[in-house]
Symmetry: C2
Subunit: 306 residues, 2 copies
Amino acid sequence: MYAIIGTWKMSCEGVREAHAGLARGGAAEDAVEQAIRAVEDEPGFTSVGYGGLPDHDGHVMVDAAFMNGNTLRFGAVMSAENIRNPIRAARALCGRETNCLLAGRGAEQFAIAQGLPMRDLRTPASMMQWREALRQENRKPDAYREHDTVCVLALDGRGSLIAGTSTSGLFLKASGRVGDSPIVGSGFYCDARYGAAAATGLGEDIMRGCLSYDIVSRMRMGVSAQKACEQAVKALSARKIELGEDAGSISVIALSPTGETGAATTLPVFPFAAGNDRGFGLFAAYPAQDGMDIRASSMQALEGEP
Amino acid sequence: MYAIIGTWKMSCEGVREAHAGLARGGAAEDAVEQAIRAVEDEPGFTSVGYGGLPDHDGHVMVDAAFMNGNTLRFGAVMSAENIRNPIRAARALCGRETNCLLAGRGAEQFAIAQGLPMRDLRTPASMMQWREALRQENRKPDAYREHDTVCVLALDGRGSLIAGTSTSGLFLKASGRVGDSPIVGSGFYCDARYGAAAATGLGEDIMRGCLSYDIVSRMRMGVSAQKACEQAVKALSARKIELGEDAGSISVIALSPTGETGAATTLPVFPFAAGNDRGFGLFAAYPAQDGMDIRASSMQALEGEP
């Protein structure tokens, strides 16, 4: 058995290639890295890696994480600049007993010392968008809309269960701001006995509920990957409403040790890519009366969606 | 009802003063800040704030967090230099809808913009210890022994439940290394409906189990603060042993919304300070046959302990 799932339409090509690798007997670790690198390297995706939108000061500061559910070890970099593939730095840190979570210059120095390729992550298009946004006075907080993290979960035939995330974070974020993506338990969590989960959306909200750990905890209790996603998103958004806030922008994916997937969202629609030994496809989750409605979809049908 | 609990002997004086403030009707938020500031300002405590031991490059890089269990909001700074009271910066960030978790220069700029006092956190004594350690060749990993975080949990008469942490992290840590202390769910978690928890020890291990969130989740299920601490520490250390590792260096505290405290450790002894409307004292937790043995103690009896 092998299986893979990735967030948003942007992960579709990378997840498709990684799925083919798993089908040839490849390792889950390689599948997660490959799928995320494809998104990081594509300048058209403006919330991850190269071409990601800058922070308020005009710097593209990236976060990434990589967790091995068989060892419970993880590695992550955060608020780091100029690392071409942050997921590779995170993977290289995964396995360390100490110093596995690095911020800022320390993360960059680690990547350089590892011989990982460095690159200016700014593009003419991203800098133009930044200058444009700064020109607009009285910006509304929905300049913060861009917060789509690529998250990939993979299981291989040897029972390895791996989680990875990568993002350039909120467009116009404050200098040094870190969201949920490199934060274990919030942006990702993975325990090979119970399952893996990852989250995308407004990181500050996701962290308040340790959402990925919450999903895996529900799977530990015997809840299916799909129901665990639904219950966790429902509990956190209900709590936000109790506190007088809106439900927020939260989407999650999960993968069980037997290859079952799950997805849930507070948005009207949440696209994701998924595959296993029976095939590969693009899907979308839609909130329904009783949990989520999950439907096979296509790039055309999801035109205009992230 | 009011109650307060803080990790290690070093928190004793600050927690005592904060306890007196709670007794006079003070707010839990002020109690947590006051108790932690006292430790940060004391150069004799070498793992927190001023006088904290430097990283491998000779920089004192601090982490701190502050969480309000009534709003589920938190603020945290990490891998930051020259902030005299990191807990004040974390508290000032708590309540923000976005940009509540700041790393490195961004955290320092935030503290400066808030008008918080800045200070070179190095002392002649800490720099001497650093030079000494670098001189010793073939250093063993137990140069990493210094990892005692000050964690304080407080409940006030208005039902506010607050958690705070502050640390300078591992002595000789890699540049940019961040441990569990500023990581929500790992170093701290607080939900006024169920309880608050915080952890100290090797952060890389604590994060693998999202230990503080795990404790609060157990309290949500109806487990007492003491039993929740014991069960969570036992589960994580048992898992480490299953994975072929040692049990690790992990200590935790918890506080329930009704003022009950809990403490557990993998060490031979774990000192903590605690008080409520019936009094204040120094205590120690000792691993016993069936969970923990918690005993009232004294500075003399705990001579030589951290």
